[in-house]
């Protein structure tokens, strides 16, 4: 363990020269960026720009695709996530993920929330109940489901299911939450509720969110990264990206000239 490194590094995630290939297709080209604690970082860009691939690399979910090959370093609190001292399961408990489509397990609402803690050895029913309540409150879902905890998660609406998935992620007490277009399958009202939630999440977690919705990025994030064809074009404070972009391509994209 390079603990000295951990203290020196102010970044939660420090990505250095990351390249990624699907077979022969290069999807990420020499990405270098740092993500700071308790900030919301939005990643925007047109379809196929590599933004989803990028966040899936941060918790190594991308490895479920066998033809993927990576090069470069991703330091998580100073430790290389591809290094042998970092177990992928440990990484994923410290870095939670919310997916594009709500993906609850075909179990009860309660069992969904406590799945993570249970898998990782929390057995005490009282503690599990506490975790469930806390996480569901954190995901602004508690009041809607507190009387129906034993119902199947699929009895919830799409927006509720997605908040359940957020609660499920929070239940393992991660440090970072990755969100891969978490509202793309939701209606505007459900989207708004999740955006409202983001402000609260920021207090406890570092959030990295991929979105195809520029207004969403502008509304909720502190920093914004613009990806295009696998390259990181620009990465700066969100208000700066949207008011005064440095790169012509960023400007073209945020003003709707393509994408």
């Amino acid at each position: 363990m390079r603990s000295t490194n951990e203290e020196q590094n102010k970044y939660v995630y420090d990505v250095r020269g990351l390249n990624l290939w699907y077979g022969d297709n290069q999807a990420l080209k020499d990405i270098t960026m740092g993500v700071e604690e308790n900030e919301i970082t939005a990643i925007i860009g047109p379809s196929g720009c590599g933004k989803s691939t990028f966040v899936k690399t941060l918790n190594r979910m991308i490895e479920s695709i066998p033809i993927v090959r990576t090069e470069g370093e991703i330091l998580y609190h100073g430790h290389d996530i591809f290094g042998s001292h970092m177990m992928v399961e440990e990484l994923r408990t410290r870095v939670g993920m919310v997916f594009q489509k709500p993906n609850p397990f075909p179990k009860s609402i309660f069992e969904n929330v406590v799945y993570g803690p249970k898998i990782h050895g929390v057995k005490d029913k009282k503690i599990l109940m506490e975790i469930a309540e806390q996480s569901l409150r954190g995901a602004a879902l508690w009041d809607e489901v507190k009387d129906r905890m034993s119902e199947n998660a699929y009895s919830l609406s799409g927006g509720q299911q997605q908040r359940l998935c957020i609660a499920r992620t929070m239940a393992v007490s991660p440090e970072v939450i990755l969100m891969d277009e978490p509202t793309s399958a939701l209606d505007p009202v459900a989207t708004m509720r999740i955006e409202e939630l983001m402000e609260d999440l920021k207090k406890e977690y570092t959030v990295i969110i991929v979105t195809h919705n520029m207004q969403q990025a502008a509304r909720i994030s502190d920093k914004t990264a613009f990806f295009l064809s696998g390259e990181l074009i620009e990465f700066d404070m969100t208000h700066k990206i949207f008011s005064n972009p440095q790169d012509k391509r960023t400007e073209d994209y945020i003003t709707g000239r393509f994408g």
Binding site: S64, G96, P104, F105, K107, Y115, I119, V172
Partner: protein
């Protein structure tokens, strides 16, 4: 050719189209589809009709006794030895088929690489294509002698060996159907579990299998139904002893083997022994029908879980 003339051709053709086949073909399809339904009703009718003749001559209490002696001068028709034979060989078969089939399904659907799966699955399914007479021969001339080394008291005809071989025969069925069920679980659900830090094995046991349990149970029930109806293996390797015993190292007769023995033997048409075949056939039919209905019910009941 101008646009107008193409339109003319199409409009002409559509008006002159022969609608005869559109009217007749659906009727032909209907008749074809009806054949299997009619056949089923025919079988049920024969079974019930001739079974009634049997049950009118043999009291129910005798049917549920352990004394089966159809060919003696004073015949008795206790079917419990046959039920017992079928039950025990089926249980042995499922003890082999369920764990092995499930393990194979888990490996193929969750752990094998795409390349390996492409090779392994067809090989596994070849097992399903082997004629059952070959399995029967395999049980009698290979498995039984092999088992004799372990269990010296094993009879040349016994329930254990055909039970095991039936299990081997059913493995591909359980494996293939269970694998299909596990593969049908959406990837995104699996990702959800992996994303929470579950290992692949935890994901399989805690998420994939519960999510596909209906398909898995249905495959097992269909396997049971196959074992109950299996004939050749037990006829060859389990013999025709009509003793009521739970000793699987000894010969016992299943319902199917009983029917084989009497249709190839000399039960004269019109005798009680002859009608007993239909009664046994009816019981067998009810069993397998019941199993298939259970399988259908289970897969329907849990279908809407996700």
């Amino acid at each position: 050719m101008g646009k107008n003339s193409i339109r003319e051709i199409i409009q002409n053709n559509i008006r002159n189209k022969n609608h005869f086949s559109d009217k007749v073909m659906p009727k032909v399809f209907f008749v074809m589809a009806s054949i299997s339904v009619i056949t089923t009703f025919g079988i049920v009718y024969t079974l019930i009709f001739d079974s009634i003749k049997f049950f009118s001559q043999v009291p129910i209490r005798e049917v549920f006794s352990t004394n089966l002696n159809p060919l003696s001068r004073d015949p008795s028709f206790g079917f419990l030895p046959l039920l017992n034979g079928t039950l025990l060989t089926t249980i042995i078969a499922m003890i082999v088929a369920v764990p092995v089939g499930m393990a194979a399904a888990i490996y193929l659907s969750q752990f094998a690489s795409a390349k390996l799966r492409k090779v392994l699955k067809p090989i596994l399914e070849v097992l399903a294509g082997i004629p059952t007479i070959v399995y029967g021969f395999f049980a009698y001339s290979f498995v039984t002698p092999l088992l004799m080394n372990l269990i010296p008291s094993l009879g040349a005809k016994n329930a254990l060996s055909p039970g095991i071989v039936m299990g081997i025969m059913i493995i591909p069925m359980v494996a293939s159907l269970s694998e299909d069920a596990m593969n049908a679980v959406p990837t995104i659900m699996k990702d959800g579990a992996l994303g929470l830090g579950s290992t692949k094995l935890e994901t399989t046991l805690k998420v994939i299998i519960p999510a596909s349990i209906s398909g898995i149970v249905a495959s097992i029930v269909l396997g049971i139904s196959r074992a109950i109806g299996e004939t050749m293996i037990v006829t060859i390797a389990s013999g025709s002893s009509k003793n009521f015993t739970f000793d699987i190292t000894q010969s016992m007769q299943t319902m199917t083997a009983y029917i084989v023995e009497f249709t190839s033997g000399d039960a004269g048409s019109g005798t009680v022994g002859y009608y007993s075949l239909y009664a046994v056939g009816l019981i067998l039919f009810v069993f397998t029908l019941g199993m298939n209905l259970i399988a259908q019910y289970i897969s329907r009941k849990y279908r809407e879980e996700y």
